[in-house]
Symmetry: none
Subunit: 187 residues, 4 copies
């Protein structure tokens, strides 16, 4: 019995936010700036999102829902490699997504609510996929039984996020191969 939320406004906000992050980092993506660019009212943004970072995260999740892939025919190593390469590509592709993810990641360090969201909706699902692959590998005999699966996921993916954040080395396919080469989890 009331007017429904305007989808048009919502999309305009998401696009404006990601654009602004791409141009000037998360600092540039203030509610004021997003509202101005999206042609909406600031109050509307406050109503639907807690912070600019939450808005960017929302955009991020919307833009990359189809990242969970099924490939039963691949070996565990190849499947993991596939997922890692996909992440690398995502982070380095057009810059937009990488910049947005880096911004949100950084902000999460000083915003517990955002961190929870990020872990729950971004990191969690991706970790679950990787953990699933490792467990499937154990069932198949391709992965050692005794390993700490959670730690293994960290060993495989943390280097990528780590370099994304600090920029002390490139995030590329060579890194993925090197990490897999140094991973002692395979049988």
């Amino acid at each position: 019995m009331a007017r429904p939320r305007s989808e048009e406004t919502r999309r305009a906000a998401l696009i404006a936010a990601v654009d602004l992050v791409g141009e000037g980092g998360l600092v540039a993506a203030t509610f004021s700036a997003i509202a101005a660019r999206a042609g909406t009212s600031r109050v509307t943004l406050y109503k639907w999102w807690d912070s600019p970072a939450a808005l960017v995260l929302d955009a991020l999740l919307e833009g990359t829902t189809a990242s969970v892939t099924h490939a039963p025919e691949l070996s565990t190593r190849d499947a993991l490699a596939h997922q890692m390469h996909a992440l690398v590509e995502l982070l380095t592709d057009d810059g937009r997504t990488g910049a947005a993810l880096r911004a949100v990641t950084a902000q999460a360090g000083s915003d517990p609510a955002l961190r929870t969201e990020l872990v729950e909706h971004w990191l969690g699902p991706r970790r679950a996929v990787a953990a699933g692959l490792l467990q499937r590998g154990q069932a198949r005999g391709e992965v050692r039984e005794g390993i700490d699966v959670e730690a293994a996921v960290d060993v495989l993916f943390a280097p990528l996020y780590h370099r994304l954040l600090f920029g002390h080395g490139p995030v590329d396919d060579r890194l993925v191969d090197a990490v897999l080469d140094l991973f002692a989890g395979f049988a």
Copy 2:
């Protein structure tokens, strides 16, 4: 030929900054708040540091200069374990340092200048030590010859920083052991 910088003021600022980060994250550590707590002038802070994060980093570096250890009698694995455990302890000890490092790390994601400082003065020296251990290990025959040393350092340490940032799992000695167990760099 002029009044020298007040060391007292400087220390008060460092302490106030770290305390504030511990209490309310980097958001709480504004120059205004630091100045108020340290009993100094805001302008003085602007004069000596570029941002609150830079100030916190300064405090961090000052508080942990003696982290580079020599232990030639240890095996490469034990030496690396030692360094990793030391990092874990640092991050979990009183909470202060961990919170500060998390804050600075996060902020580095959206502050290139800070990132440079952080990589140069915090991450760099620690990575150099680890890389040195790995190379010494290669000379000793304890570490495989063909590995990518830089990537190896990432594989070993990134999981710790990763969990520090996202909090999706504990940063403890068990994690260190699990990571070392999954590290395929040893001969």
Copy 3:
């Protein structure tokens, strides 16, 4: 289609400003102090006034709108005397207005925008009245035809403002009488 300006806030600012000028001169009437005393936000003041002096001028204009008087039955000399005495009374009455006018007048010397405002909304209307009286006097034959009306207005009123500013002599009714006695404009 938006929240209307708060008249309450506006009045509080005007009162606070005049009070502060009365207590400590225009130096004391900073936007910070006015905001603090009026219980408003500093930013709101910046939004509506260019400077504390402009705010005080606003208050001045608001407080003395009814100064233009009609008295067709008076002679030109008496009408001018009336206006001059009214100004004297205004400047010496409670001290508030005199102090405010002195402050604004002084400030106008180093603030072109304020000077324009002051001339346009304070000095101008009052000069126009006086000039009107003189011209009416010329039509009536009470004032010499050949005089420079603008200069005459200066001769009559400048001494009052001059003494207000420098305080080298009293601004009182005796001065008004003396000035009129020394004015050679009457036929």
Copy 4:
């Protein structure tokens, strides 16, 4: 047993101050700016002057000491006209002096100490000369006996300062003539 005050430094400060006032008004003539331009230390300025305005006034007095003229052969009217024209010339000549005087005058409105200085060392001597001329005129029979001499001085000179401050009309020789024409003090 001590180093004497540096005359060189003093002159540099005076020149710098007047220059700065000429360029950007009294607002631009801060102790900081004067010190920087004069190549002296700020503290030295604090030691010798109370405020930038006092410094400018000092320069003003120094530059125009020779303005008191003797001319016994002139009529009272001509002598007064001479003094008034001299003032007009001073205020309009190169702009430097006029700007400085206007600035100091304005500042005097909100600085009692400066006002005292200004009245005592600038306005007072000039008023005394004019008053002296009027009294000499009374002795000679050129000036009416019954007039208020102080008020007369105001009537003659206030219009010049008034226009200088408000800029509502030109300060020129025509004004001087008009004022003298409207002055009813002559016998």
